[in-house]
């Protein structure tokens, strides 16, 4: 780096010219220092304004209208879309229940398993790098790939899971037909991809916990399990909050896995009776299949409110649980 500096800044002493150019340079430097930072952050704000802020503001406006590509004129309907959505749309509530069901069913085991895995990885291990790599591998697959592989694992007729059930003498399950079974299948797809990722995050946090604490606890006769619950988990509190919020944002947007769980067309309906249709699937259904754009705007806004609400609830919960200790 010092080499670079020398290359770019040759201090050549040329008295008469240097003075004028120095003065010019200093006013240019002032301008440079004052305005170029804005230039450097400008690309983000341009993209953000056009492709995020403007669409979000527009969503708020559109949700108050009956806009549709089928309507010649757009009229302002006030909160009608929201009233309809909340009071007389069982399909929306079905999607909300499905989304929350799969969210809880996937997030709880996901974070528990990740904690346990991280705790195991935090021991003295041979082939540590191998274990970390193997456990992180699933994150290189796309959700589409995960959904397709697991769709076959959960196939009704020749599926792997049903074969396992059969070989221990249990009846096969039609994983798509039954509501809870489909939730379970989809949750395992989510978990398979994200457990390793969360485990790495927990592992990083665990490694920054002082070893003295564990030594002291061990001297006092605390078992490993006790140490885990009384030292590790409370120390990980900020990290647990972080992963909970990330999982909440991701979980409530669940889309690709349930969409591709249905092979053939018509994936947006989420099964024959919408048993695994999520809010995002419903949003696209309203938008592109029924062309009710104003109503879709309302769905999007309610989804966002739900995400914000759940993130806050999770934050408060996680804060309380571990501060008891």
């Amino acid at each position: 780096m010092s080499l670079d500096l020398h290359a770019t800044a040759p201090p050549e002493p040329r008295p008469p010219r240097a003075r004028t150019s120095h003065r010019r340079a200093s006013s240019a430097t002032k301008l440079d220092l004052k305005y170029s930072p804005y230039l450097y952050v400008l690309p983000f704000f341009l993209i953000f304004a056009v492709f995020s802020a403007y669409p979000i503001a527009y969503t708020v406006w559109i949700a108050l209208t009956d806009r549709s590509p089928l309507n010649a004129t757009i009229s302002f309907v006030g909160l009608d879309n929201f009233v309809e959505l909340i009071t007389e749309d069982p399909q929306f509530w079905n999607a909300v229940v499905n989304t929350f069901g799969m969210f809880v069913l996937s997030t709880v085991p996901q974070l528990m398993l990740a904690l346990m895995l991280a705790n195991a990885l935090n021991r003295k291990l041979r082939a540590q790098t191998f274990f970390r790599m193997a456990i992180a591998m699933p994150i290189i697959t796309s959700t589409a790939v995960v959904a397709l592989i697991f769709s076959m694992i959960y196939a009704k007729d020749f599926g792997l899971v049903n074969w396992l059930l059969d070989s221990v003498g249990l009846d096969p399950i039609d994983w798509r037909a039954n509501r809870f079974a489909s939730w379970f299948a989809i949750s395992t797809m989510v978990d398979w991809r994200w457990v390793g990722y969360n485990a790495l995050i927990y592992l990083a946090a665990m490694q920054s916990i002082s070893k003295d604490m564990y030594e002291a606890a061990a001297l006092d006769g605390a078992s490993r399990r006790r140490q885990f619950w009384s030292i590790t988990v409370p120390q990980l509190r900020p990290t647990i909050i972080f992963t909970l919020i990330i999982s909440t944002i991701g979980g409530l947007q669940l889309f690709t896995e349930p969409l591709l769980f249905t092979s053939g067309s018509g994936g947006l309906s989420g099964g024959s009776e919408g048993q695994f249709q999520t809010i995002t699937m419903y949003l696209l259904d309203v938008m592109n299949q029924r062309f009710r754009w104003g109503y879709a705007g309302a769905v999007a806004l309610v989804l966002f409110v739900l995400i914000a609400l759940m993130s806050t609830v999770n934050y408060l919960l996680a804060r309380r649980i571990s501060s008891d200790k």
């Binding site: 220092l33 450097y40 983000f44 990885l121 193997a134 592989i149 697991f150 007729d157």
Partner: protein, 298 residues
């Protein structure tokens, strides 16, 4: 990681026992080993099984009991996928490389430039702008999906690559990560020295800051490429016409048109995963390091 052999002087009792206990504390128990090995098997099995099904005929893939060993039809299945006119996998692959590559380069460049400004330059409204960037990371794309779709239609970008590229050229995460790194990795004295020598802020960025940011730039690039390669939701919305897909949308077409042909679908998933698999084998440590580091800082 260094093992703690230093004991605080306040606890001089039975030092031998203490180290012994500390050693035992960090040794993996048989149960731990069992859990880890099980975890590894569960993590890797779907990859293995992907190869098993992708290398068999469709009849063999749909047999009872299910096949557990690879067959000899991998080349044939891959050829069938690539020749499948409905899925356009070849075009999907090229598009995905183009889109992910462009976004990666742009994210690293704009991210390091803005990150440098936020870490090392002084300007009015810095904190407010930073707050907007932070907030932007919390907003799901669904919130603006409909107007964004309308916008794309107006720009005449539907079913084209700009629709899945331009909105993602720079995101909040990239700026944040580069800012964090720049604050620590670039000493202020170095920047001052460059300024005294007459460097403009741009030259400071290009000759002093950018070289120092290289390790973080590599990690950001890898994570961005992976994320963009795997995008599904937004491409699904704007690339509805299957003639010009990204590779993930090709997979969806395979699933829609040939729902019975699992060996072809799995050959497709293998093709779509292979580039990232290569990236992971080459740069796995950096990727893992990036995930772990990002977590500690946030």
């Amino acid at each position: 990681m260094t093992t703690t052999t230093l004991r605080p002087p306040t606890r001089p009792t039975a030092p031998a026992r203490a180290t012994h206990q500390a050693e035992r504390l960090w040794k993996a128990s048989p149960l731990t080993w069992f859990g880890l090995v099980l975890g590894v098997i569960l993590s890797l099995f779907p990859f293995y099984w992907m190869i098993v099904i992708a290398s068999r005929t469709n009849d063999a893939a749909n047999s009872w009991p299910p096949p557990f060993l690879p067959g000899g039809k991998l080349g044939e299945n891959i050829e069938r996928v690539l020749a499948n006119g409905d899925a356009n996998v070849v075009k999907g692959l090229m598009n995905s490389f183009l889109v992910s590559g462009t976004i990666t380069v742009a994210t690293v460049f704009f991210g390091s430039l803005a990150g440098f400004a936020f870490a090392k330059l002084r300007f009015r409204g810095k904190n407010a702008l930073l707050l907007i960037i932070l907030a932007s990371m919390m907003v799901p794309i669904q919130l603006g999906v409909l107007p964004l779709y309308i916008l794309m239609a107006k720009l005449d970008w539907l079913n084209t690559m700009p629709s899945v590229t331009v909105p993602f050229l720079i995101g909040g995460f990239g700026i944040f990560m580069m800012r964090q790194y720049a604050e620590q990795a670039v000493p202020n004295e170095l920047i001052e020295a460059a300024r005294v020598d007459g460097c403009s802020t741009w030259k400071v960025y290009w000759h002093v800051v950018m070289p120092a940011l290289r390790p973080a730039a590599a990690v950001l690039g890898l994570l961005t490429f992976m994320e963009q390669w795997n995008q599904f939701f937004w491409p699904f919305v704007v690339l509805a016409d299957p003639s010009n897909p990204t590779v993930q949308i090709s997979l969806r077409s395979l699933n829609t048109a040939y729902f019975a042909d699992n060996s072809q679908i799995f050959a497709g998933t293998l093709i779509a995963t292979l580039p990232l698999f290569i990236v992971f084998v080459l740069f796995g440590r950096q990727i893992i390091g990036g995930i772990m580091e990002g977590a500690v800082k946030s």
